[in-house]
Symmetry: C2
Subunit: 148 residues, 2 copies
């Protein structure tokens, strides 16, 4: 409790400020596609995996399951994903991307990558990989890993 370290050395603070710079820019890039970072993330996972449960989505995105409902509702209304009851566990309503959802996702990914490259372009590819590895460890931290 002597001379406290400066705020700028606080990793939580740096994480918050970095996010505050990047996320609004990415949201702006996604606006044209009718998406934002969260709905884009759900769509991306639906495209990458077969039959994702909403519980899995909640864990992966660190959101409450109740928040996933509205996001999937929006994507379903836009025709980008569909829900279907699992044949093996009728409690589960698996989310799957439609062909149109895959098209939208591919285009959206292009604009996300472009936008992030502008913001992170100061970092070399090596540095970006290092950052990815470090953030992945923080993000995963305490996960059950009972997932896929």
């Amino acid at each position: 409790m002597t001379q406290p370290r400066p705020l700028r050395d606080d990793l939580g603070f740096l994480l918050a400020v970095s996010r505050a710079r990047v996320i609004p820019a990415v949201n702006g890039a996604l606006r044209g596609a009718g998406l934002n970072v969260r709905s884009y993330s759900v769509l991306a996972l639906a495209c990458e995996r077969e039959d994702v449960s909403q519980r899995e989505l909640a864990d992966e995105l660190r959101l409450d399951p109740s928040q996933i409902v509205a996001i999937v509702d929006g994507l379903e209304d836009a025709g980008l994903v569909r829900r279907h009851v699992s044949t093996t566990d009728r409690r589960m309503r698996a989310v799957v991307a439609t062909p149109e959802g895959r098209t939208v996702h591919a285009a959206a990914t292009d604009s996300v990558v472009t936008t992030e490259d502008e913001l992170l372009g100061e970092l070399s590819p090596t540095e970006q990989d290092a950052l990815r590895a470090l953030l992945t460890r923080i993000a995963d931290g305490d996960r059950t890993r009972a997932l896929t």
Copy 2:
């Protein structure tokens, strides 16, 4: 637009999820002191600097100036900071920490550091330094640097 990279390689996504893991934990650690990450950050800058303008705080924290008002109001009501009109520019209402504010800040910093160490403890000190350096570059990115 061929095979889009997985969501887990997206730095914006990793930033958002990492923050979603760290910030609530830090907010929890600060709750006892009547603070959260944002009010703690304002208090910390008021302790580190002499006479910070609210505009500077907004830039540093990447918040809108209008949001700073409520945060400083809360800190002032709690007796942790005071506002005083600048003698050189009477538009400016500089924020300065009170002695009690400094005491609270020192104790709060202790619990923040403890909490973050639990979450980031998997990373070695070297890795934490590397992460700090990388995040600082993203956070600063486009700053005017006309500040202190």
